[in-house]
């Protein structure tokens, strides 16, 4: 059993009752990046295992006729960013971040969802409309007056890092791509299923194509089945019912591939973590489909490093003579797979990748976009930003899209997915000046 298997196993355990295990040791408080910078958040121990004892076991809100009680006892849990460090640090295996997320969902369940939170959850919808009107949308997203208006009316901070929309979605570009598998699909030893998620589809098709290049270079054809948003933005905004619909739809397609032995590879660490753990743990879809998909899912760097471990990775990388500050995102740590990108960077000649060794950039998905949380998110990430600025590097790297956007915006340093760096290194090997082979 690998570490990743253990993470998947643990995901199946009861979240609410895991509060039982708390020893009150405070380790979680000492790792929480949010509690460190603001008094508005009392910390994981408080909002997690302690507050959990004051919530109904059913996860529901108390129903007292005629009694004006708040639907969940503590609104402060909303300030948890969901980064998940507490859960990974807890020696007693309390699922703190998950408890917090559930509590938030219970809190939201009784209220009308706030328009902003609903909107931030609809990455499919906003992406689709955005791409259709990309030029206007991109202008609007950068327009200071409109952003101020959006801050006041919607509650998205004027300086929050909103990504630039692609002119065409990845899916539509892929249909026209010569690499697109036509006719009969190759078997699971010669092809992988690619889960692109919303980010690669609507904002960064270049990441998807980089991944495809790298995979094909290593002998894998890429199958891109129909798919929708993994649902994580909905989960972290407490909108479980909608998230379950997305999950069901994805599982319906992916489980079939998983059972036939295909591996599902994703470029978004948060999407892959959602497939691996959140469907079962947060959405409680713990059936055969969910298990099959969880077991078949790999983060792209995890997959490539596994190839390398088995001596099957093409290591003919060209030389990239540059400094590369690297930030390992929170979601990656929840995978429990180490920092595979760093191991892969070490294979690229000349590349001087440095682990920035900072816990969190602050954005945590959609958290840092929100008006009331923007300052907290910036304070959380500040030490990281300082290191990147100080490095003077031209490019930084990070596996998670929202972190890349946050870092790029805060440091004015273009920030790439590791697979983009690897694709560039392969390209150098093929065409570059240092290529000794070709």
């Amino acid at each position: 059993m690998t570490i990743a298997d253990l993470v998947r196993e643990a995901a199946a355990e009861n979240v609410g009752l895991s509060a039982n295990e708390c020893l009150k040791c405070n380790v979680c408080n000492s790792v929480c990046p949010v509690a460190r910078v603001t008094d508005r958040f009392p910390g994981p121990k408080y909002v997690g295992p302690q507050a959990q004892r004051f919530r109904l076991a059913s996860g529901l809100s108390p129903q007292l006729p005629g009694l004006p009680v708040p639907l969940t006892p503590d609104d402060s849990v909303d300030y948890c960013s969901g980064c998940g460090f507490c859960t990974t640090a807890c020696p007693a295996e309390v699922k703190i971040a998950e408890i917090n997320n559930r509590a938030r969902a219970a809190m939201r369940a009784g209220r009308r969802p706030r328009f902003r939170d609903w909107l931030l959850g609809q990455t499919d919808l906003t992406g689709r409309i955005g791409v259709a009107f990309a030029p206007i949308a991109n202008w609007a997203l950068q327009n200071r007056g409109l952003r101020r208006l959006a801050e006041r009316t919607v509650g998205i901070h004027r300086n929050a890092p909103l990504p630039k929309l692609a002119r065409r979605t990845f899916r539509s570009q892929w249909k026209a791509d010569p690499g697109h598998v036509q006719g009969e699909e190759p078997g699971p030893d010669r092809a992988v299923v690619y889960f692109h998620g919303c980010a690669a589809n609507y904002y960064e098709p270049n990441v998807a194509f980089a991944a495809i290049d790298v995979l094909r270079r290593n002998g894998f054809e890429v199958i891109v089945p129909p798919q929708v948003c993994c649902g994580l933005p909905l989960i972290s905004n407490g909108l479980y019912a909608d998230a379950r619909k997305r999950a069901r739809s994805n599982l319906g397609v992916l489980a079939d591939y998983a059972r036939r032995g295909y591996r599902i590879v994703g470029t978004s660490t948060s999407c892959t973590h959602t497939l691996k753990a959140e469907y079962r743990e947060m959405l409680e879809l713990d059936d055969d489909d969910a298990r099959a998909v969880a077991e078949a899912t790999w983060d792209i760097c995890e997959f490539l490093l596994d190839l390398h471990d088995r001596g099957r990775l093409d290591t003919h990388f060209g030389r990239l003579d540059q400094d590369l500050p690297y930030h390992a995102p929170c979601q990656l740590r929840s995978h429990g797979i180490g920092l595979p990108a760093l191991d892969l960077f070490a294979l690229v000649p000349g590349l001087r990748a440095v682990d920035l060794d900072h816990d969190c950039c602050g954005i945590a998905g959609t958290y840092g976009l929100k008006n009331e949380k923007y300052d907290i998110a910036m304070a959380v990430g500040e030490p990281l930003f300082r290191k990147i600025r100080a490095s003077g590097a031209e490019v930084a790297a990070c596996d998670s899209e929202t972190c890349r956007w946050q870092i790029a915006r805060a440091t004015a340093t273009p920030t790439k997915h590791p697979v983009e760096i690897l694709a560039a290194a392969y390209a150098r090997a093929t065409h570059g000046p240092d290529d000794a082979i070709s």
């Binding site: 009752l17 004892r53 076991a57 006892p73 402060s76």
Partner: protein, 547 residues
Amino acid sequence: MMPGPIDVLVIGGGATGAGLLRDLARRGLHCLLVEKSDMGAGTSGRYHGLLHSGARYVAKDPLAARECMMENRVLRRIAPGCIEDTAGYFVATPDDPDDYADAFLAACSASDVPAEEVPVAQLLQREPALNRAIRRAFRVPDAALEPWQLIHANLADARARGSAAWAYHRVVAIERLDGHLLSVNVVDVRTGSVTRLAVGFIVAAAGAWAGQIAALAGVDLAMSPGKGTMLIYDQRMTDTVINRCHQPGDGDIMVPLHTVAILGTTEIHVDDPDDYEITREEVAGLVAEGAKLFPDLPRMRILRAYAGVRPLYQETGTPTGDDGRAISRAHAVIDHGARDGVDNLVSIVGGKVTTYRLMAEQTANVVSRKLGVSEPCTTADDILPGQELGHTYWLGHRLAEHEQAGGGDADLVCECEFVTRSMLDGFLDANWPCSLDDVRRGTRLGMGPCQGGFCAFRVAGIVAERIANGDGTPAAEGGQDTAALVDQALTDFIRERFKGSRPIASGRQLQELWMVSGIYSGVLGIDSLPPAQPPHLEGEESSRDPR
């Protein structure tokens, strides 16, 4: 001290004694209640926490069932703040007989206990931790009942009407002249000083200890105390009371009480209500039975085991109330005038916390008749003091109030139970001088998973501040070193918390204890404190305190 003559001395500060003091005071009598420990430290504070609907008794004791339901309605009206309206279910597991479940609804309706069958799937949705193999489920108006607040509310009402209640005063002697009791000696167990009280009338509301009081008066009352053990789980796995639908037995009720869930009970005869132990077999037996209701129970964390002693009594002949109405065998008012030729002594024994008010009423009726008082009972009419909020409490209220007051962890003294500094100061203002154990009963401080590990040193510091500011305890006024007093209070409290936890600790709870003992022994060096004699607490009393 109590000015003026004492019409009635009530011995015992449990639910019954407190209810009786209130009842008598409302009839215009001038009364004093004495309790040898803290109020509620007897069985009333060590019970299961269930406001019975009566459904448990419908098969065996329909009258007791009817009384429970009547009083259930009354308490919801007069003491809603002590109640969480959890509702209760009787569930038929595969181990329970079909015929009991078949007859259950009819038996409930015969005793006026409202009950309805609900689809099992619906209950499982509400209580996901329940055994999936449950075959039938019936909903009844069970609820959770907090004892200490209830007792204090009764005492407050009595005090407002000129009566008094003394904690830590034990009756040690009763002076009798022929068929009449003249006076009582009580000792202040904190200082050792003895007071002689001239009394007109005595009621022993001493629960399982009633036999001892009777003996002091030279009367024979054979109690047959029955120990019942309960297990406290650190977190609720159910939000409703869950009962097995069968002939009542061991380990067949789970009660969610505040932040914890309590599994109980057992029933084992003991000779002395102060001398018993909780055995490992009992604990294991409870868990095994409980697992029939909640299959994951063996993996859940037990905070403590505790026991209470049922004030059981078997009199020959049929006991009757003052009006000749048959009273349930669940409790008995014993007039020692008719029975033993002592004209000013009555004992009240048996019963439940649920029916404490009714028991008090029946007792007060006897006393009133003997004293020629004609005022009627009014305890069912008026809401108890401090209970006027108009609704029952809900699990999250304390956290919600803390959040509304600004939240944050800076102000928390007890993190597990969310006891804030201002809550603690309020309690100390009202009750000082008091022990840390009194603080615990009054505020739930130290009752959570760490069992005082992270709050005891904080509260000790706060108490030290109070002593340094010149707010003396009786012992401090007696010239004791204040630092030593605080050390003592702290060690007493921590040892006490450990006592109920250590024998059953395993898994996480054992790890927790190791960590807490690391803090106190390793970091704070508590073992190197000079051994001091507890100046005021009866060791044996506090040693068996429940939670």
